[in-house]
Symmetry: C2
Subunit: 116 residues, 2 copies
Amino acid sequence: MNPIQIFKALGQPQRYALFEDLLQVQGASCCADVIPEESACCVVDLTQRHPLAQSTISHHLQVLMDAGLVTVERRGTYRVYQVNQETWESFQRHVADTKVCGAIRRPVAVEPVLGT
Amino acid sequence: MNPIQIFKALGQPQRYALFEDLLQVQGASCCADVIPEESACCVVDLTQRHPLAQSTISHHLQVLMDAGLVTVERRGTYRVYQVNQETWESFQRHVADTKVCGAIRRPVAVEPVLGT
DNA sequence: CCTTTTCATCGATGACTGTCGATATATTAA
DNA sequence: TTAATATATCGACAGTCATCGATGAAAAGG
């Protein structure tokens, strides 16, 4: 999990939209093997919902894959993409753990630690 | 708070390093008005710790400002930069709230909710 | 006023990126 | 084998970006 690579991958509007789409897909896929509950997509599905050429979508998916954000799986002639939840969750943890050291900021009163 | 702009701003290694630096600064600043507890920096401090021209650092700080991630304040001839905690915290919330709909993923057993 | 210091802004440049159409590849169906 | 479909890859091109040195602007000190 490389946070900078993830920031970069999601810092592009169309790519962010693709990622959000993968997070939220619920409808049917054109690939019959994909059930709605899977929250998965094939490339054709994405080309129908995003104003991009198929090759561009493949490219963006590759970038998301390189960042570890999505996984692929072959099903017949289709490739089924899904969010890689492990990576996403560790990224979430990373962001949550990133906070200001030092604590004292802004016009905040400085209180001594009790019991010292 | 525009998440895509924040992703983009932090998706660049040098800029990410500057942001991390601002999050964690604890030592003294060359600007005497800055106390270590503030977790703040002036541009000179950053030029000493990062292998970039001063103009490049100013540029990256501007990008971080445009994303709302940092704030500036004049103190004499210095400009003191600090992480904007409000923006960062709402970004943290945004990331934490971004999760897969649909729930069913991977070869995970589907357990019925108890008590229904 | 003049000088010094800090920092932003400008202009240039090489590198990277998003996008497309065209093509190649792989799988299934006939 | 041939055809059709889904998707990756290639090559090109325009636009953006990271970086630098040089310059400008503002504040402080003499």
